[in-house]
Amino acid sequence: MTIRDRLALTDDERMLQATLREFLTARLPSAELRSALDSDAGYSMTLHARLISELGVGGLTIPEDFGGLGLSQAEACVVHAELGRALYPGPFLPGCLAAAALLAAGDLAACQEWLPRLADGSATGTVAPAGENGSWQAGRAPVQAEKAPGGWRLHGRSWFVLSGQAADIIIVPAAAASAPGMFLVESGAPGLAVTPMTGLDLTRRAAALAFDAVPARLLGRGGDAAGVLEQVERHFLLATAAEASGGISWCLDLGVGYARDREQFGRPIGSFQAVAHQCADMLADLQSAAAAARYAAVASAAGSEDAALAARVAALRGGESYRRVAEAAIHLLGGVGFTWEHDAHLYYRRAWSAQQLAGGPQAHRAAIADLAGL
């Protein structure tokens, strides 16, 4: 199946997109989002449960024999784009990453125990790969694993853990004697301290995790953290690129709508060429970010040899475009865009945060140079 044939949305994908758009527009209007952000969990658990049960998106890329839909990255990114458009604050993305980690580690028992529960929403999960400087190098894992009589014990700290407070299971890379392996920690495990991190992105909370001799379950044979993290990172790159295209489309609709309606000097501000051209630039950003996200997702789904490069290109260009378009939307709105009560800054905050969590422009450029064969 060459990439070219799958680039246009299939009818199923179009259906999935429309259903999600309708669901989120009805159930997560601005007021609902705001009250979720003010709640302790930072998201509505009932809405999260409905999203997963009614639309079945919990187990999107989990194989059918583990209770999932067994769909590909192409479909998954349609979901990520719509959730990104609505700044959906629930632990959807972390759950996907946890599922990806479990599948990549290939521990059948762990998969059988947890994947069905991630799929039906009865359990939430996340991954904790990052040290204090945010980088994912498995080699210098910020957490050490020690083989104790009763089983493995983890020591150390990991930071920027998405939905760390909401997760029932946390998949952590930890350096053991040989190469680092992947470990599963259940929430509430003794010695595990989960503290929220004050963050820029109000619609996606991160936590810092402290491990003090925390009992953990080694996934698979161990020593495979590098390989597993690479696959998890691919999901993360594709998801953030798709979320970015969704957020950009919201900002474009906002900016163009305002440029049409807002009058100054007795005419719509969109009739001023500077404003009109900024809107055209925003459309160009949407067009390229959406195309890159789609191409990268389809390339990964098709296992094509330029999939890794496409994922980095999509993350880099999507991240830069999202930051630029979110700022342009605030600027177009003028004063009201700068207020706390208007939602524009929530997208600006997500754009900056997601870009850095996904590795940041420098990491992407370096990876692209490697993957392109320089």
């Binding site: 990439i3 070219r4 044939d5 799958r6 680039l7 246009a8 163009v256 440029a259 049409r260 005419r267 719509p268 969109g270 009739s271 001023f272 060429q273 404003v275 009109a276 051209h277 809107c279 055209a280 630039d281 459309l283 160009a284 067009q287 390229s288 959406a290 195309a291 890159a292 789609r294 191409y295 990268a296 490069l309 496409a310 980095r312 290109v313 880099l316 260009r317 420098q362 992407h364 450029r365 370096a366 990876a367 692209i368 140079a369 392109a372 064969g373 320089l374």
Partner: protein, 404 residues
């Protein structure tokens, strides 16, 4: 009789091609190897006039053979000599030809990509039957006579006049930035034919480029070469039968022709896509021994991301078109992206080569990059400036009120 299945059509076409032309070897893409062959990286082709004239007969023969075997106008209506097959067959055939060493249609981009489709849309049945076979069979080549010194972005302000003279017209004026005028047999020209209101005072004609009173001169551009011409018309006679569409409908004819131009310009193959190939850029960095320099690797990664995104965008659009959801005017954004990528290419080459870019040390593939640097500004002007294209996008894609 219904269309032959696409597979059969392609198999037959491949047979026809293979019998006449060598395979291009590796998947049609001429393999790029640093140091081999011509290191030219031009934004606009600046064919040396002699070489160009020499190449033309082969191109005409290639068109004629295609035409005589039904491949000349695959998706053209049978009434005008076309094969009447779906557009997908034509696109598939075009992709197929890239796998063979064929003369190709680069020199006919305007003639077949813009003028012929305009004649199909605005020509009378008689004109279509007369002109289209001549163009698609390569017997005649058409060029576009639109811009004038005083009418660039504001095309409607053309001052070239066509005055009625019995059942003919006399045309006097000057046209600029016409590519291929020196090779063309006919030119689609927009002239002012009345003192009427703006957009209603223009008429389109097909003028004989070799008629008395037509003078074609190369227009030397800042690159040093000439990819375009100036055309002077001094009281040139044109039969009323060569009037394209009604008197006063010249503006509609112009818009149709320009819309075909934008689609073509956005396509990555246009504008010397060869200069955008990753292999050539990697060769450039290795030649300057900077592949280990982290700063160069960052600039390389940034550049590649822009080039790839431009390709991904076109491939997604092509897929959407195949699925019946062809993109509209937003395709013009591709042209802006290509212009920006050319600027980025020049900047990257400067970063890697330093002074070796701006003065020729004789090293292969270094000073040649000045063609990109000198051609890029022209690419932001030809086929509609960035500003004009963004106006169109804002108003007709985003629905914003007319920007003044």
């Amino acid at each position: 009789m219904s269309d032959p299945p696409l597979e059969d059509f392609l198999r037959q076409a491949e047979g026809w091609l293979a019998a006449r032309y060598l395979a291009a070897g590796d998947g049609g893409q001429r393999r790029f190897t640093w140091g081999e062959g011509d290191d030219e990286v031009r934004v606009f082709q600046e064919p040396d006039p002699v070489a160009e004239a020499d190449a033309l007969p082969a191109i005409r023969r290639w068109r004629r053979e295609l035409w005589d075997h039904g491949y000349g106008w695959i998706d053209g209506p049978a009434a005008c000599g076309g094969a009447g097959l779906p557009a997908a067959y034509a696109r598939a055939f075009e992709r197929l030809t890239r796998r063979y060493r064929v003369p190709g249609d680069a020199a006919l981009t305007v003639s077949l990509g813009m003028i012929a489709p305009a004649i199909l849309r605005h020509g009378s049945p008689g004109q279509r039957r007369h002109w289209l076979p001549l163009l698609y069979s390569g017997q005649q080549i058409a060029c576009q006579l639109f811009s004038e010194p005083g009418a660039g972005s504001d095309l409607a302000a053309v001052s070239t006049r066509a005055t009625r003279d019995g059942d003919a017209w006399r045309i006097t004026g000057q046209k600029v930035w016409t590519s291929g005028a020196h090779l063309a047999d006919i030119g689609e020209i927009i002239c002012r034919t009345s003192g009427g209101p703006r957009h209603h005072n223009l008429t389109a004609f097909l003028v004989d480029m070799r008629a008395p009173g037509v003078t074609v001169r190369p227009l030397r551009q800042m690159t040093g070469g000439a990819s375009f011409n100036e055309v002077f018309l001094d009281d040139v006679a044109v039969a009323d039968a060569c009037r394209l569409d009604e008197e006063g409908r010249g503006w509609q004819v112009a818009l149709t022709t320009l819309s075909f131009e934008r689609n073509a310009m956005g396509h990555s193959a246009f504008g010397g896509a060869g200069i955008l190939s990753t292999a050539r850029l990697i060769g450039l960095v290795h030649a300057a021994a900077k592949q280990a320099d982290p700063v160069t690797r960052q600039e390389f990664g940034e550049l590649i991301s822009h080039l790839r995104v431009a390709r991904y965008t076109q491939e997604v659009q092509a897929a959407q078109a195949r699925a019946g959801d062809a993109p509209g005017l937003e395709v013009a954004l591709n042209k802006i992206a290509l212009s920006e990528n050319m600027k980025r290419l020049a900047g990257f080459a400067a970063g890697v080569l330093g002074p070796a870019l701006i003065a020729d040390t004789g090293a292969w593939g270094t000073y040649a990059w000045t063609s990109v640097l000198l051609g890029a500004p022209g690419y932001r002007l030809g086929g509609g400036t960035d500003e004009i294209l963004k106006n169109t996008i804002a108003q007709r894609v985003l629905g914003l009120p007319r920007a003044t």
